[in-house]
């Protein structure tokens, strides 16, 4: 057993993890959004977006426009929701904007989804980002892994096995 070789290998793993983290946080800063890439979890925007589609977000716009597809988070729920802006009311003095959203595939607007008693979202507080780009289906792997415990074990097993079996 070569200590030096083992340490180098460990360092490489750390390097890979650190650069992935750096890339994610760098993207966060550029887009001004705490999660710049999201995976669609529900079918409420079908047929535009299905479960597992990957969306790229941008949050440097001051105001949203009607028709924009935005991702928002409601106080008390940690699941981001991808819906379309149905109405906007903006006040350029205070810089505030009220938004009402709706899923294309839903019959009614989102008021029942909002935090208690609220009938609008606030652009500066609730919006995570506006959808700019789209890749179909590739995100399904993350849904599969997070919702299926055997998939999680299989992934861990694969990583562990490949680490054990590698000897350069």
């Amino acid at each position: 057993m070569n200590i030096r070789l083992e340490l180098t290998r460990f360092l490489n793993v750390c390097f890979a993890l650190a650069s992935a983290f750096m890339f994610w946080k760098g993207l966060s800063i550029v887009t001004n959004s705490h999660s710049p890439i999201v995976v669609v979890l529900s079918g409420s925007m079908e047929p535009a977006f299905q479960r597992g589609d990957i969306l790229f977000l941008w949050n440097r716009n001051e105001y949203s426009k009607v028709g924009d597809i935005v991702v928002y988070e409601v106080d008390g729920k940690d699941i981001p929701i991808v819906h379309r802006v149905l109405r906007e009311h903006k006040n350029e003095n205070s810089g505030k904007q009220l938004l009402l959203t709706k899923g294309d595939n839903n019959a009614g607007n989102d008021i029942p989804l909002y935090a208690k008693k609220k009938i609008y979202l606030q652009k500066d507080k609730d919006i995570v980002g506006t959808v700019k780009g789209y890749i179909p289906m590739l995100g399904y792997a993350t849904i599969w892994i997070s919702e299926n415990k055997y998939a999680k074990f299989a992934l861990m097993g694969f990583i562990g096995l490949s680490a054990l079996l590698t000897n350069e």
Partner: protein, 198 residues
């Protein structure tokens, strides 16, 4: 010499490179075709816009603490040919009719609302012809009343591609509509309305 991870890495690298090249080609031809078809200056005719206002008392119709709120619905005619928006990377076109207006007191407060929208997934359905159709949504203002306002009515579209960036645009047709003053006696004629509030 070859380890499991190395092989996996090489295969996935190859796959990602191929997929990116193909996607970039698709996105480039998609945009070229959109500009070639002049989609950013498509025309539409919005005519015969008839506003109608009534009062609602539900939270789901903008009412706060049960105070009656003016809700606006319209009826309209529409003729718009959106066929040029469809090409090989178009998954769906979302078309929506909006009205924008300024606050009567302050010019720095402005609003835009959606009256009607439609999802089009087939090129054959892309020529939209509507006669005297009622708006899908009842509109209220965030703070003020909706009556006696000048609304600028426009038709917008949004393309969802199979891969790539979302594309937004508006048609050149544009109509002005002034909402009438709300009359109390016209509300009396209708039976007192009970809103569903779950």
């Amino acid at each position: 010499m070859f380890s499991l991870t190395q092989r996996f890495q090489q295969t996935s690298n190859q796959a990602i490179t191929c997929a990116s090249v193909v996607s970039i080609f698709i996105i480039a031809t998609f945009w070229a075709q959109l500009y070639h078809n002049n989609v950013f200056s498509l025309s539409s005719q919005i005519a015969n816009v008839k506003p109608q206002i009534n009062l609602r008392t539900s939270r789901f119709y903008g009412s706060v603490n049960g105070k009656p709120k003016e809700n606006l619905r319209i009826a309209f005619d529409l003729d718009a040919d959106l066929t040029p928006l469809f090409n090989w990377n178009t998954k769906q076109v979302f078309v929506y009719l909006t009205g924008s207006y300024n606050d009567t007191k302050s010019s720095s407060i402005s609003s835009e609302v959606t009256f009607w929208d439609k999802i089009i997934t087939e090129k054959a359905d892309a020529h939209v012809i509507l006669k005297n159709v009622k708006s899908k949504y009842a509109i209220w203002d965030a703070k003020d009343k909706i009556s006696e306002k000048d609304l600028d009515i426009k038709l917008h579209w949004n393309i969802q591609p199979w891969v790539g960036t979302l594309v937004y645009g508006e048609t050149t047709g544009e109509t002005l509509m002034t909402t009438p003053a709300y009359k109390k006696n016209s509300a009396k004629q209708k039976a007192p309305q009970k809103d569903a509030s779950n």
